[in-house]
């Protein structure tokens, strides 16, 4: 068996396993060899699932040998962000407070992936509870960017993006509360998608800010994104926010895409505020769209200046409420309560949250406290409504909006960790989709002079994921970005 199989996307591997060109078991062994060799440099895994993965691979081989029906993702190895519950695996959210906690059930997305015969490879590193933009705030150490291991991988789904970018697994799942899928996808030069709020079940996702977050796929090819989305989306009785709607996404042909005459809005006011190399790369992509007959026009979004503050008020308020459940009674590690009364025991245990998580809980408690509710939370919700109206206005004229995923290039590990606001400001382009609940995708757009990845972000109206995928397919075919791999690896 060729040792270069790890370079192939998931859908091709699946085809080879189905056609009995390769055995799922051999392929999974190859994947773990690759992980053991590469991940010492990247630190993308928190826990691995070797025994169960091999068992599942053997079952798949047996099914195929017996001509039994198999799922659409047969034999594809998938990495899972460590805040999504997988039965029998540790679910730490990269936090000390959940060290050793093992999930007793599968999240709905995991159930659905297993139904399609995908193989869960392990749990991936992240910012603690999804709170961060760099994947440096993890109890298990920071994630390194495969394009330059001295640089951050982005966050909070840094492990999910880095593991795909470094060709350890073809597909991973992340969660996106304010750009947590798109930011690391941009920094690691892979595709990351946040679906419309309500498209994918959040049952089994450890909540940080439930009105903003969604689970989504990360991969190197659009076909793998489509395959995963089709597997995980749809109504779930366990999550009342999922919509009772049928979803089916396709990989359309380029001629069909070009014939649709999509109207593209360029969010100029935001692009101008990016770093020079980022803005230039994005304008090059916009020129490509123009040259290929897309209707491209400049536009701008109002009130975006207030969006970031509104986002962080809502996110911290919800975090302070959601994280109140971590009291070491229902979850957590062994700690003798002898000598403590209840409140001091609880406070002492909760001091095991990392500094950033503690800060957000405190800020959340403050903005929700009596006397400040109207000043912060109420106003933030009003701004959220206005941002949504702004998008409704823009999507009357445009099918998609384009802007950079991140305003800056990836930076060195430890360079920006000390000032929270400096990091919060980096989310300015990604939080808009979360506030409005609309879908967004980040695709590789190019590289800086230093060889650091730059991502293009595309937004569309709710439930118009197919248009995002169409534009991504256009760039995939023109740029061949799926073949861009980090050289040292």
């Amino acid at each position: 068996m060729s040792s270069d199989l790890f370079r192939l996307p998931g859908y091709i591997i699946s085809g080879k396993i189905k056609n009995q060109e390769i055995l799922a078991e051999d392929y999974i062994n190859l994947v773990y060899d690759r992980i053991n060799k590469i991940d010492v440099k990247i630190n993308s895994f928190i826990s691995k699932n070797y025994e169960a993965a091999i068992q599942k691979a053997r079952k798949i081989d047996k099914k195929i040998k017996n001509n039994e029906k198999t799922g659409s993702m047969v034999g594809i190895p998938i990495g899972i962000k460590d805040n999504i519950s997988v039965k029998g695996l540790k679910n730490t959210c990269a936090s000390k407070i959940l060290q050793g906690y093992e999930s007793p059930y599968d999240a709905t997305v995991i159930d659905r992936l297993k139904d399609q015969d995908a193989i869960i490879i392990g749990k991936l590193n992240m910012d603690e509870f999804g709170m961060g933009t760099t994947s440096e705030f993890s109890f298990y150490g920071e994630v390194h960017n495969p394009w330059n291991i001295d640089y951050v991988a982005g966050g909070s789904s840094g492990g999910s993006a880095a593991v795909v970018s470094s060709l350890q697994v073809p597909i991973s799942l992340g969660s996106d509360t304010g750009g947590s899928i798109r930011c690391p996808s941009s920094f690691c030069s892979v595709i990351g998608m946040k679906p419309t709020y309500g498209t994918v079940s959040r049952f089994g996702l450890v909540s940080y800010s439930n009105s903003l977050e969604q689970i989504g796929p990360i991969a190197k090819t659009v076909t793998d994104i489509v395959l995963t989305l089709n597997a995980i989306c749809g109504n779930d009785p366990n999550d009342n926010t999922t919509l009772n709607k049928q979803f089916e996404y396709k990989v359309n042909k380029i001629d069909e895409i070009l014939s649709k005459n999509y109207n593209v809005g360029v969010l100029n006011n935001l692009i101008h505020n990016s770093e020079e190399q980022v803005a230039k790369t994005i304008y090059d992509k916009i020129d490509m769209l123009k040259e290929n007959g897309f209707n491209v026009k400049d536009t701008s979004i109002n009130y975006s200046d207030f969006a970031l503050a509104a986002y962080y008020i809502i996110a911290t308020a919800e975090a302070s409420s959601n994280l109140s459940r971590f009291d070491n009674i229902r979850y957590g590690f062994d700690f003798d309560p002898e000598g403590y009364e209840w409140n001091s025991y609880s406070s002492h245990i909760r001091s095991n949250f990392g500094d950033e998580v503690k800060r957000r809980i405190l800020v959340g408690s403050f903005v929700l406290s009596a006397g400040y509710y109207g000043k912060y939370y109420l106003k933030a919700q009003k701004i959220r409504n206005i941002i949504k109206s702004e998008f409704n206005r823009l999507f009357k004229f445009f099918d998609v909006l384009v802007l950079p995923t991140m305003p800056i290039l990836p930076f060195k590990i430890g360079e920006r960790g000390s000032a929270p606001l400096e990091l919060y400001n980096l989310d300015i382009y990604t939080i808009l989709a979360n506030l409005a609940g609309i879908p967004a995708i980040s695709i590789p757009a190019g590289f800086s002079k230093e060889g650091l990845p730059i991502g293009l972000q595309i937004l569309s109206n709710e439930f118009n994921e197919q248009i995002l995928l169409d534009i991504a397919i256009f760039f995939e075919q023109k740029d061949k970005f799926s073949e861009w791999n980090p050289v040292p690896l």
């Binding site: 519950s85 679910n91 999930s103 007793p104 059930y105 959040r202 049952f203 089994g204 996702l205 450890v206 909540s207 439930n210 366990n238 999550d239 009130y303 200046d305 207030f306 503050a309 509104a310 962080y312 008020i313 302070s320 109140s324 459940r325 009291d327 229902r330 979850y331 409140n343 609880s346 406070s347 002492h348 909760r350 001091s351 949250f353 500094d355 503690k358 800060r359 809980i361 405190l362 800020v363 959340g364 408690s365 403050f366 903005v367 406290s369 000043k375 912060y376 109420l378 106003k379 933030a380 919700q381 009003k382 701004i383 000032a419 929270p420 606001l421 919060y424």
Partner: protein, 136 residues
């Protein structure tokens, strides 16, 4: 806010301990974040217009009826073509029912309330008699 005692109070409210040595640093960072949130003060919304939006809707498209339910809550009927949202302040007028008690059916693991048998909560994940796992 954000002097030493305010942070201590906030910690106690949030059930979080912070090392004495880190209080000053935490206080400064929180102060910085709150100052950033104060940017919303620049956002001038016509509050009066916003508050009157509910009352100003034409009678032809919005009607109010008083139900006979025990709660005596107002019920709002709206024509299909108009999207109507509750005022933000009205979202927080729920009252906790202290008298509500729960009974567990040992056979089905379902939980029901004493005063309304229509309420049934089905929990999926039990371990040693407790509901386990992070819930959304």
């Amino acid at each position: 806010m954000s002097d030493y005692y305010d942070i201590k109070k906030l910690c106690s409210l949030s059930r979080i301990e912070i090392d004495e040595s880190k209080i000053q640093q935490t206080s400064e960072k929180i102060k910085e974040i709150i100052s950033f949130f104060n940017k919303l003060d620049e956002f001038e919304l016509n509050e009066k217009e916003d508050n009157n939006a509910f009352e100003n809707l034409p009678q032809s498209i919005t009607t109010f009826t008083t139900t006979t339910a025990a709660s005596s809550d107002k019920e709002t009927k709206i024509d299909n073509y108009i999207k109507f949202e509750k005022k933000m302040n009205d979202l927080r007028n729920d009252e906790h029912n202290n008298k509500l008690t729960f009974f567990k059916d040992n056979n089905t693991n379902d939980v029901s309330t004493n005063n309304n048998s229509q309420f049934r909560f089905k929990f999926h994940n039990y371990k040693n008699g407790y509901v386990v796992g992070p819930r959304i």
